[in-house]
């Protein structure tokens, strides 16, 4: 396949699919077939893109044939191709789960097409080489997510959806402000062109722009002190929607932070220390928040916040090893977190509640769900030989190599606390008897613990998580090559502006 096709397919195909999905709105089955077909094709083309980029280096295409920096550039390096593959896999798995979960689509004609629009927004965020286009891609993704979150319009959804929309709109205004200042200072929004021209600006202005962009994407990624909206808004959506938000949307923010900070700013302008402090506090505050909760989804939501800190820690170290570990961490975390949220949905489905005090002894009533929870939970805490262990060792190693002992210590403490918070779910939901009267449910046999279409994608993601651990060596090498691309943007510039 040609480069242009590989780069445009993940964006264009979901948009077309969304349109057709509306047209065939009368038939839910047809909508589902379209959604699954489109996302499977996107996954295949993303894998093809990754293979191509890994063998031939960064590739780019100019939309409409307008050469950079005039037109909009689509560009894929190893990092964005990796993110695209993991993202497409999550979107597909969660769509299968949503089809299987009773009530996830909320009987709404728009669910499938809005989901596809979100997929297009996620792909566009990973592939764009133009900062204003990144804004548009973010808005596609966010607007779709507003609808997915509030679809159905119950009281809790409207309340939490409001917080989410308001904070996102605020972040968007800040993003436009940052774009305006960048354009006023440099006269371009093409990222490759920006990288050259920002270097000519006064150092103070460079730092200001760097911090402004960090704040914009920090809100989307839920970094301390900008994370308060996340644990409030995520848990109210159906678990399929929460899973894709938790797995992907915050990580798109992390991707944008890594991309802009590595590509646009040089060492003097980068707010390294600030990011390190933010990473440390994000880890600590997030995990302390998680420990205080009593609801499965809320514990997991606070866990997301905490673990965003690890990724930013790897970036803030700004060494090859640190960045590689951060990239590996993002990949591992997307898979593990999505699996956990899908299992959270299964817990709710089988146990009738997501509150620990109402759940209990599910290891006996739903052993499959117990396994589906335990493996990604241990992986998230970084227990060897599961997938979370490798990037954590990488981060600790990278931190020690540049003598950042404080952040290394924090990251280790937070690992233990992560294990504690997840074991709280384990004991509360699976091991100990319920402390309150459980919700009355028809007794389910010790079968799968949920509809096949809910259990199957969760199990597939669990296997993907195990595969990440099994093939950690090759994946780590790939992360190292991706990190080397990020640290030496010459290939990126050469691909965008030959």
């Amino acid at each position: 396949m040609s480069d242009t096709l590989l780069l445009t397919l993940p964006i264009v195909l979901p948009v077309i699919g969304a349109g057709i999905s509306i047209l065939v709105g009368r038939s839910r089955a047809a909508q589902r077939v379209i959604g699954l077909t489109v996302l499977s094709t996107v996954l295949v083309s993303a894998v093809a893109l990754l293979v191509r980029v890994d063998s031939e280096g960064t590739i780019a295409t100019q939309a409409g044939g307008w050469r950079a920096p005039m037109g909009i550039t689509l560009v894929a390096d190893r990092f964005s191709a990796m993110m695209l593959v993991v993202g497409a896999l999550m979107l597909l798995a969660v769509l299968v789960y949503a089809i299987g979960q009773p009530g996830a689509e909320r009987g709404h004609v728009g669910f499938q097409s809005v989901y596809l629009i979100m997929a297009a927004g996620v792909s566009a965020s990973f592939l764009t080489g133009d900062l204003f286009n990144l804004f548009v891609a973010f808005e596609m993704m966010l607007t779709a997510s507003y609808v997915l979150l509030t679809l159905g319009g119950g009281k809790a959804q409207v309340r939490s959806g409001m917080t989410y929309v308001v904070i996102s709109l605020l972040a968007s205004s800040l993003f436009i402000t940052a774009l305006a200042l960048l354009y006023a200072a440099t006269g371009t929004v093409n990222m490759s062109d920006l990288a050259d021209r920002i270097g000519e600006l006064p150092p103070a202005l460079q730092s200001t722009l760097a911090v402004l962009l960090l704040a914009v994407f920090g809100i989307k990624a839920a970094l301390f002190p900008l994370f308060f909206w996340l644990p409030d808004s995520y848990p109210t959506a159906p678990s399929a929607v929460t899973a894709v938000f938790a797995g992907l949307l915050t990580k798109v923010g992390v991707y944008a932070i890594i991309r802009t900070q590595t590509l646009l700013f040089d060492e003097a302008a980068r707010p390294d220390t600030l990011m390190l402090v933010m990473a440390g506090t994000t880890m600590l505050i997030g995990i302390l928040g998680a420990i205080a909760q009593d609801d499965v989804k809320r514990i997991l939501s606070f866990n997301i916040v905490s673990h965003i800190g690890y990724m930013v820690m790897g970036l803030a170290l700004f060494t090859l090893a640190g960045l590689a570990a951060a990239i590996f961490y993002v990949v591992h975390h997307i898979v593990a977190k999505t699996t956990l949220f899908l299992t959270g949905g299964l817990i709710e489905h089988t146990g009738g509640s997501s509150r620990l005090s109402r759940l209990g002894e599910m290891v006996r009533t739903a052993p499959t769900v117990a396994v589906l929870f335990l493996v990604p939970a241990l992986s998230l805490a970084g227990i060897p030989p599961l997938s979370g262990f490798v990037p954590k060792v990488g981060l600790v190693d990278a931190g020690l190599a540049v003598d950042q002992h404080v952040i290394v210590a924090i990251s280790l403490v937070v690992s233990v606390l992560t294990l504690f918070s997840l074991m709280k779910i384990w004991t509360g939901a699976f091991w100990a008897p319920a402390t309150e009267a459980p919700v009355e449910r028809p007794v389910q046999g010790p079968g799968l613990g949920g509809p096949v279409l809910m259990v199957l994608p969760t199990a597939v993601l669990l296997v993907v998580g195990l595969a990440i651990a099994a093939w950690a060596g090759p994946l780590y090498d790939l992360s190292l090559r991706a990190a080397a691309d990020l640290l030496d943007p010459a290939t990126y510039h050469a691909a965008v502006r030959p």
């Binding site: 609808v147 509030t150 409207v158 959806g161 917080t163 006023a184 809320r298």
Partner: protein, 136 residues
Amino acid sequence: MNVLLAATAGLLFAVGTYLVLQHTLSRIIIGLGFMSHGANVLLMASGHRGIAPIIGVGEESDFSDPLPQAMALTAIVITFGVSALLLALAYRSWILTHDDEVEDDVADRAIARGGHEDKEVSDEETWHEERTEVDS
């Protein structure tokens, strides 16, 4: 001219920030409108001004910069769409609660009062009890 635009943008941001910090939903939405207008004005100010950029009507050096205008238009359309959605949500919220206040996070409040035994977040009935309890 640019100073005037910058001052306008600053004023819009100031008004917007003040309104967003209020506890009433309608004010927050209006405040967000002000803020995004401020951002758009700033975007307009970022290009240089001049005559309409149509090839053949004058010297190219006299042209205004069309790119910020295109970007501002895109941003306006997006903000318009999201604001409409936000207004619909606010209306829905008013229908459901007959109240324009922005609620605190229910589970946060429960935890602040030190309760594992407290009410469930997703359970709408208990949520309502909780609400009236806090209100009184």
